[in-house]
């Protein structure tokens, strides 16, 4: 979804930079505040940034014979809310603009707006919507990841259409043309990204439960004594730590992720 260096007219480049800047500045403040008030979430913040870093480096083939990369911004948006991703996504874009000649400094504003602002907000909105209508955590995460990815590419298409309207068919024609390149390619990638997000969240719900509860992603577990508790506090049966997660699904106290799924 990178718009290449110099490929937006100066007025557009400046316009998108001005549009993205407040989000990024606000995001930077949110990151600093989060780290200062909750130093324990640094690990998860790192994980969210790293996830975007990995995914946006990997170009994957798609069904229409072209290739593109996922964005990975939905994860951090669900965990820490979208402003945090405005900073993390922009850092990734800056790295790629400076070291990889992918994207660019003049188009950084436009690229940040699509990947670090629109993507996370759409993903977060999708997540909230799924949770609101009674969907579980994992369906919510899937929707967040997939739609954050897709929305980013749709935004890029619209940005290009605005800058280069078609001579005959105008803005709409140009938008359809760029959507044909970006959005169609991106559908399978968005699905794949959704599945990857679900995989990662399954790991996090087990291993980062306290953080997820504090961040409001998971509801606090019921008080001990109500049914069997898979939390460390139980200690009723002694098991080797390695086999801890694979208790039979039908038994009491299945992985907390599965219980969460049913909500």
């Amino acid at each position: 979804m990178h718009i290449a260096e110099g490929f937006l007219p100066p007025a557009h480049a400046i316009g998108w930079t001005v549009a993205a800047a407040p989000f990024v500045v606000h995001g930077a403040r949110c990151v600093v505040k989060e780290v200062r008030e909750h130093p324990e979430s640094t690990l998860l913040l790192g994980a969210a940034g790293a996830f975007t870093f990995v995914l946006s480096a990997i170009k994957l083939p798609s069904f229409n014979g072209s290739s593109s990369h996922p964005t990975g911004t939905g994860l951090g948006a669900v965990l820490f809310r979208p402003p945090v991703m405005a900073l993390l996504g922009t850092v990734v874009l800056l790295f790629q603009a400076l070291l990889l000649a992918h994207g660019g400094l003049t188009t950084l504003g436009a690229n940040a707006f699509s990947m670090a602002v629109v993507g996370p907000w759409v993903g977060y909105g999708a997540y909230r919507l799924v949770r609101r209508v009674g969907g579980g955590l994992l369906p919510g995460v899937f929707a967040a990841m997939a739609l954050a990815d897709l929305a980013t590419y749709v935004t890029t298409s619209l940005q290009l259409a605005l800058a280069f309207p078609d001579a005959e068919s105008g803005l709409v024609g140009a938008a359809l043309k760029y959507l044909g390149v970006f959005a169609v390619t991106q559908v399978p990638l968005a699905v794949g990204e959704g599945l990857l997000g679900v995989l990662l969240f399954r790991v996090l719900t087990v291993n980062a439960r306290p953080e997820l509860e504090r961040l409001g992603v998971l509801r606090p577990a019921p008080e001990p004594g109500f049914g069997a508790e898979p939390r460390p506090a139980s200690g009723a049966e002694t098991r080797p730590a390695s086999g801890a997660e694979n208790r039979p699904g039908s038994g009491a106290g299945t992985g907390t992720a599965e219980r969460e799924e049913l909500r």
Binding site: M1, I3, A4, E5, G6, F7, L43, G46, A47, A50, F51, F53, V54, A57, K59, P61, S62, F63, G65, S66, S67, S68, F95, A97, L98, L99, L100, A101, H102, G104, L105, T106, Y153, T156, L160, F164, D166, A167, K177, V181, F182, T185, Q186, P188, V191, G192, L195, L199, R202, L204, N207, P232, A233, G235, A241, E245, G249, T254, A257, E258
Partner: protein
């Protein structure tokens, strides 16, 4: 067991999703969408000249793919470190809870 089965199925689905295009359409070049968009811009507006050059361009496609690999490795390393730390913490908590003299 069910948990591991679901994990395995998810991993398989992701692999299948990205392997299928390669199997179905072997001749395609899988050009990047970024460069396709650049071509479209130049088609629709042949007079447009990029007005700014990248401050640094990798000298060859080998260097470029190496830098992409570096980006993925950095991200993967940090992600793995974070998850490893979280997992280790949980294991330690469990061990502390199960030991006869619980820690503070």
């Amino acid at each position: 067991m069910r948990r591991h089965l679901v994990t395995a199925l998810l991993v398989l689905a992701v692999i299948a999703l990205f392997a299928t295009p390669l199997l179905l359409d072997r001749d395609s070049e899988y050009a990047g969408t970024d460069s396709q968009a650049t071509e479209l811009v130049q088609e629709s507006d042949p007079g447009y000249e990029p007005w700014f050059e990248s401050v640094f361009s990798p000298g060859s496609s080998e260097i470029e793919s190496g830098l992409f690999a570096l980006q993925a490795a950095l991200g993967g390393g940090v992600l793995g470190y974070a998850i490893g730390r979280l997992r280790g913490r949980r294991t330690a908590q469990r061990a502390a809870a199960e030991s006869p003299t619980p820690g503070p």
